[in-house]
């Protein structure tokens, strides 16, 4: 029989399974190394190299001259196109994000309210999400076409021919036209997420609101929206990130034109890197670094703000 000096022994059930989670170094490496190699070689190294490049003026053979922060100075204080691109991207992001989330919520509510054939509608409404920007961009370029595009056709048909536009050719409408296309592609996504969140809501709450003789608007504002708040915030952040990085659709539909009316930071980076008659990757790298920094800062800020808000409300 063992001696028992009754000393307290801290035991922790959470740790009980730790031992089984150990494995030999070789096994561990075998599991992790491919992912780490990919990460280091094709994510970490490129990012660091882009940051390094941003302080360089690069020649066509990759031979660089160190210029310090000169590129950044040029971007921030002298590059008008950059600021135009920033303002376009900002408009696109802010308006787009609000419309995206609100629209997705409204569509979800439409289905949630018991639409006939709601499963079929849900599947159809989601289809654009699965399509590439190339497909979506080309189709909408055609829909916006001045001569034979559907939108002008409809305007003429209903007698509003005076409103016909070269939608993508007019600097006043081009950005909005691209934005509408982007919304069209992504609304289904937001709808599905909102719908999932709605279905997860306890039925009693909505029932209680019914008993309180709540109008649908009041119900939306005071009951549904607050309860979906975490989901909506999540979508906001996602939508925000996506739009800050907007490239494909703009490039396909307008190439940033007319007159920089739809130039986004991303298309500008691409143009400076691969479309200008220079081989200097340093300058576009600096833009990319600057912009990525802003995106990450914004996202962290938003997550922080929202998290506080969330804590207050729940």
């Amino acid at each position: 029989m063992t001696a028992s000096e009754l000393q307290p022994v801290r035991t922790d059930d959470g740790l009980a399974s730790q031992g089984a989670r150990q494995t030999s170094r070789a096994t561990l490496l075998a599991f992790v190394v491919p992912a780490v190699a990919i990460f280091v070689l094709f994510t970490l190294y490129p990012v660091l190299r882009t940051i390094w490049n941003s302080t360089q003026t690069l020649g066509p053979m990759g031979n660089g001259t160190f210029v310090g922060l000169q590129n950044f100075e040029e971007i921030l204080f002298r590059d008008k196109t950059f600021w135009k691109a920033v303002s376009n991207t900002a408009i696109f992001t802010i308006v787009g994000t609000i419309a995206d989330v609100a629209g997705g919520l409204l569509l979800a509510l439409c289905l949630y309210a018991g639409a006939p054939m709601s499963r079929t509608l849900r599947v159809i409404w989601f289809t654009p999400v699965l399509m590439s920007y190339v497909v979506v961009g080309i189709i909408w370029t055609w829909l916006y076409d001045y001569d034979w595009g559907l939108i002008n056709h409809i305007l003429r048909w209903i007698g509003l021919g005076a409103l016909e536009q070269s939608w993508l050719g007019d600097p006043n409408t081009a950005l909005w036209a691209v934005l509408v296309t982007h919304l069209w592609k992504w609304l289904g996504f937001n709808m599905i997420i909102c719908l999932a969140a709605l279905s997860a809501l306890p039925k009693e709450v909505l029932g209680a609101a019914e008993l309180d003789a709540c109008g649908w608007w009041a119900k939306l504002v005071y009951v549904i929206t607050p309860m979906l708040w975490p989901t909506l915030l999540n979508l906001t952040v996602l939508s925000f990130i996506g739009k800050m990085m907007m490239f494909d659709l703009v490039w396909i539909m307008t190439g940033g034109g007319p007159l920089w009316a739809t130039e986004t930071v991303s298309t500008y980076v691409y143009k400076r890197a691969f479309n200008w008659n220079t081989f200097n990757l340093g300058y576009p790298s600096a833009i990319a670094v600057l912009w990525s920094g802003m995106i990450i800062a914004f996202v962290l800020l938003m997550m922080r703000l929202f998290r506080q808000r969330e804590r207050l409300e729940f």
Binding site: F39, T50, I124, M131, S132, W148, I296
Partner: protein
């Protein structure tokens, strides 16, 4: 009217319907707005450019089915299609394997630096593509992988790896440790456990990442346009864009190309709409 409706329940239902008409109209309208363009493209894919320019919104009569054969061979959509399939297929397989292995290790093993490693790999999700692509271009040049399908595969694996690991690890971590202990008692090594336990049980999550990665990469444009130059190596989105840029805008042939590009997705979607919706929204629902 309300009083009347109260007395006649049948009428109440009627009024209910009438009140719902604007709403039903909206449902119909939005359905046309989302589905209509695809129908339109499908119709155009069977018509020639001149027919389309004469009457953009007419039915195909006669239907030029031969356009698909022509697009496949003469317009090289067949080449683009196979390129897309090879690149996306390889990338998805690699992503699934490498991602699942890493996710398994992160979820199952306790080791020093695990948290740091996890944070590092997952931070890959935050990296904007612009930050990556400029020097990825240079790096692939150095490795002799620029303008090769292999290079594009690697770029795709790099961009999607973080999210793949994120989704898989979340799922794997929920699997009870006892299962793995039992397999060890049954005499299986760590690799066999990964292959025979983690992968089969993790199938739902793996299917999700496969769908998500397939759709995202099938549609990918930015990396392809930067990393490929040869006509013979173009993926489908690039191939179609190439036609958009040509002098003479062959709308009919582009429409056929669009159909070739979206057909696999539409067919899969028709069969597996639930899985695909789940896959596409995997990262967002928490």
């Amino acid at each position: 009217m309300a009083a009347l409706a109260e007395r006649h329940p049948g009428l109440a239902a009627w009024f209910g319907y009438i009140r719902r008409i604007p709403w039903l109209a909206f449902l119909l309208l939005y359905t046309i707005v989302t589905g209509g363009p695809f129908v339109w493209v499908a119709l155009m894919s069977l018509r020639t450019t001149n027919e389309i320019l004469d009457a953009p919104y007419a039915l195909p009569s006669p239907a030029h089915w031969g356009k698909f054969a022509e697009a496949w061979t003469a317009s090289k959509y067949g080449v683009y299609f196979w390129n897309s399939l090879i690149v996306v297929g390889c990338a998805v397989v690699l992503l699934t394997l490498i991602g699942a292995m890493a996710a398994h290790a992160l979820a199952r093993f306790q080791f020093r630096g695990r948290k740091a490693l996890r944070l590092a790999i997952l931070s890959g999700m935050m990296v904007p593509p612009q930050l990556l692509i400029l020097s990825l271009f240079q790096i692939l040049l150095q490795f002799g992988l620029y303008n090769t399908l292999a290079g594009l595969v690697l770029a795709y694996v790099a961009t999607q790896l973080a999210m793949t690991i994120y989704i898989l690890e979340g799922f794997f971590a929920q699997l009870p440790q006892d299962l793995f202990d039992a397999a060890r008692m049954d005499g299986y090594s760590d690799f066999e456990i990964f292959w025979k336990i983690t992968l089969p049980i993790g199938m739902p999550a793996i299917a999700t990442t496969v769908v998500l990665n397939f759709i995202i990469l099938w549609n990918e444009f930015l990396f392809a346009i930067v990393l490929l130059t040869d006509d013979d190596k173009r993926t489908l989105p690039l191939g179609i864009m190439h036609f958009m840029g040509a002098h003479q805008l062959d709308i009919g042939m582009i429409a056929t190309g669009l159909m070739i590009s979206i057909a696999p997705i539409i067919v899969l979607y028709a069969c597996f709409s639930e899985i695909m919706i789940k896959g596409m929204t995997a990262g967002a629902v928490r």
